[in-house]
Subunit: 142 residues, 2 copies
Amino acid sequence: MGNENLVFEKYLQSKGLKLTQPRKIILNAAFATHEHFDVDGLYDQIRKKQKDVSRATIYRTIPLLVEAGLIKQSLRCLAKDHYEHIYGHGRHLHLICEKCGKIIEVESKETENILNKLAKKHNFNIKEFNVGAKGICNKCQK
Amino acid sequence: MGNENLVFEKYLQSKGLKLTQPRKIILNAAFATHEHFDVDGLYDQIRKKQKDVSRATIYRTIPLLVEAGLIKQSLRCLAKDHYEHIYGHGRHLHLICEKCGKIIEVESKETENILNKLAKKHNFNIKEFNVGAKGICNKCQK
DNA sequence: TTCATTCTGAGAATAAATCTCATTCTCAAT
DNA sequence: ATTGAGAATGAGATTTATTCTCAGAATGAA
C-alpha cells in the first residue's frame, strides 16, 4: 500500500473537505486492484467486505480522486466510464481488443515526448494523456 | 463533395443492405461539416433542411458508417458519443481543452509509427487509433 | 404482382450518471 | 463535553443518451 491516503487527505484539506470513512473505503477499493475499474466494480467490491457505501457517494468521490491526481478516466472502450489509478504508476498506453475487451498496457516514453512537443507548439497545457488503439488481440485473431 | 456515397453504397451492397433515402441524408449530414459531430447535431441539422429522419435511424446508421470506414468515434471528452469522419482525411491527434471544449487537431505520423511498432511487438492488429491529450488551451490559460 | 426481406418511425425500455433533500457526521470554537 | 455551521451521506427520483420493440412501409428479385 502506497501513500495514496496521504495524498488524498492533503488534496481534500486544500479544498476544505474531509477525509471521511466512505471516502477512505472508496479510495482503498480503487487502489485494491491494479486493473481498471468502474463504479459498479467498486460498489460490489465494497459490499463484499460488508462495508456500506452508496453508489451516489462513489459517483461523488471519483471526481475528487481525479482532481487529486490519483486516478484518471481511461480511454473509452465500453459503454460505461472506466478509471485507472495513475499515482505511483508510470504512464502507459493501451491496446484494447474489440472482441474480448482485453487491455494490453504498454510503456512508451516516446509517445509522451512527441505529445509534449506538439503541445508546446500550440501553447497547450497538457493535464492528461490518452493514447491507445483499438483492434484485435493476438488470441482473438485465430 | 468526395465519393463517400460510393464507398458507403459498396459497403452496404457487400452486406446485402440498401442505400436508402434516410441513409443518404445521414451520410451527407455527417460529411457536411468538417468538425466533429454527435447524434443530436446531425438530427438538428437534418431537421433544419426540412428532411425527416428519426433519431433511431441515425443511431442505427452510425455503426454502419463506422464499419464502412467512413467515420470513427472520437476520443471521449464529453458525456455523449462524438464522431469524426476519417474518409479522405489524414489521421490526426487531438488536444482537447477541458475549459472551453475546443479541439485542436494536429498531424503526427510519428505517433502512428510508434503505435504500429508497439502493436507489432504484441501481435496486435490495430483497427483504429486514439491519440490525444486533455488540458487547457492557449486562450483559457489567461 | 407477389413474396421475402429489409427499413423505418414512434415511443417504450434500459442503464449510467446526476440531482434532491432530509438526516447524519465532523470538527473547530467555546 | 456541547454546540453550531458547514460538509457529507444514503435513498430514491430524475435526467439523458442509447437501444429495443413492433407494426407498417419500402425494396427488389422472381
